[in-house]
Amino acid sequence: MRPMTITEKILAKHAGKKSVQPGELINAKVDIALGNDITAPIAIKQFRSIGAKKVFNRNKVVLVPDHFTPNKDIKSAEQCKVLREFAHEQKISHYYDGGDAGVEHALLPEQGVVVPGDVVIGADSHTCTYGGLGAFSTGVGSTDLAAAMITGELWFKVPETIKFVFKGKLNKWVTGKDLILHIIGDIGVDGALYRAMEFTGKPIERLSMDSRLSLCNMAIEAGAKCGIIAPDAVTEAYVKTRAERKYKFYASDPDAEYAEVREYNCADIEPKVAFPHLPENTKNISQVGKVRIDQVVIGSCTNGRFEDLEVAAKLLKGKKVSDHVRLIIIPATPKIYSDAMESGFFKTFLKAGAIISPPTCGPCLGGHMGILAEGEKALTTTNRNFAGRMGHPKSEVYLANPAVAAATAVKGFIAGPEALRKK
């Protein structure tokens, strides 16, 4: 049999085939179909438009109103209402509303809703996040979601895979976010278009699950169909207490075929900052120069997890946010919110002068809870810095990891965590 990559194996299994190869068009069963308050209303409209009455499996459709919630205005309230009524009508078991809602891609792994070996589709481009668990997961549109909600399957073109091999030891403060920014800086925002990105090497094996999810989250920023990391002991420790279904670990065959193999030496990788207006405009933190910042955001499906808040709290302890900076901290889920509170982070954040937001996508997509005015600059731990992404079309967004974000909030200009020690 043809040797296969982890992505090919998962897809083959879900298509009921022994083997698949890149370029092949397949129909695959989906384990989870996800929608949010922006994309699900269109999917629900499509669902009804062809007379569908029932979702294929009420336990496999997941609906999370997270983008404009708590409802920011009347229109978004109407959209959420569409979700709520559909969820109740269909008795959707994974529907997260009110105090149960969190940013979808942080919520699903945390709650054990997605597990290793799954095929997950989501009407949200950052659905690729779950590759961190060793699942095949990819973003689709609302119509695709409607199709999957009805039939429980969807068509896919089996992607070619690019393998990224990391070597050496990670420098201090370097996280999964920096590795993916480094890659995107190297290959560009369409460098992995239509392809799967597989991340390997000792430094990857040493990454925490939070960091792996954050790394795979941004595969889409290189145009990829998915990002994936082979599950291992770290994965096992993470999923064993929370998985709500059986899971399966897949791994690439040693002689699997790759479209390309790229190697990186971690010694060259510092914390990274992506400059406006594309995630590929990356620089090492030592090269950014003096950039004055008006707003710092720590949150989102990229970096709003416990570990992210923990590093921010550590750095902000006993410090004050610069008087010209608004620091907005958004724990990504209710559990992270409560864990952060119990760990005493909130006290640190509030004393430093930060704003703590309820779990929401909020400013990440320029929705609400921290919109930028003309000419303002934000440094954020989110994943996109397109022009106008966080507000006014003439505002600027810089992307970085949470340690850089915390240091920047204190200094008032873009700075690495080392800058907090030097006096």
């Binding site: 922006i38 659905t127 039939t151 369409d190 997509l365 320029g366």
Partner: protein, 164 residues
């Protein structure tokens, strides 16, 4: 299927926030969305685009979010077809699912100036700049996708296959 119209030119890596900013995603009405289409890149686009006009863009058109509001807004504005050397994959999928014709075509971008007259023959995949008298052939649309279009999009194809 044939399209005729004037060219609207956009560059590389046009993202879904450019096509329709997220603040407007609280509606799914094509007419409403069309009013804000490309607002940040070219405020003249939405008020002036005519039915049948064509978007000629550079590589990786439609990158970013999975919002179907993007092809809906473009279609709602009257654009008949988007031509670019490459498309972001979710946008590509969405366009076929929504019935917005798109073509992957190299070369046309370089020779086209805004306002040039463009003719597109979807059956042969030929894109012609009538003003500059230059023709290019697009990458053939895979038969699987053609069938989707013929069936009237993904939803209708599901219905036709009796899967509802």
């Amino acid at each position: 299927m044939k399209f005729k119209g004037s060219a609207w030119k956009f560059g590389a890596d046009i993202n879904t926030d450019d096509i329709i900013p997220a603040v407007y995603l609280t509606t799914t009405d094509p007419k409403e969305l069309a009013k804000k289409c490309m607002e940040h890149l070219d405020p003249k686009f939405a008020p002036n685009v005519k039915k049948g006009d064509v978007i000629i863009a550079d590589k990786n058109f439609g990158c970013g979010s999975s919002r179907e509001h993007a092809p809906i807004a473009i279609k709602g504005s009257g654009i008949s077809c988007v031509v670019a050397p490459s498309f972001a994959r979710i946008f590509y999928r969405n366009s076929f699912n929504m019935g917005l014709p798109i073509l992957e075509c190299d070369g046309i971008f370089k020779v086209t100036k805004p306002g040039d007259k463009i003719e597109i023959d979807m059956d042969t995949g030929t894109v012609t700049n009538v003003t500059r008298k230059k023709s290019f052939v697009a990458t053939p649309v895979p038969p699987f996708m053609q069938d989707l279009v013929k069936a009237g999009g993904l939803m209708n194809s599901i219905k036709k296959r009796g899967l509802v």
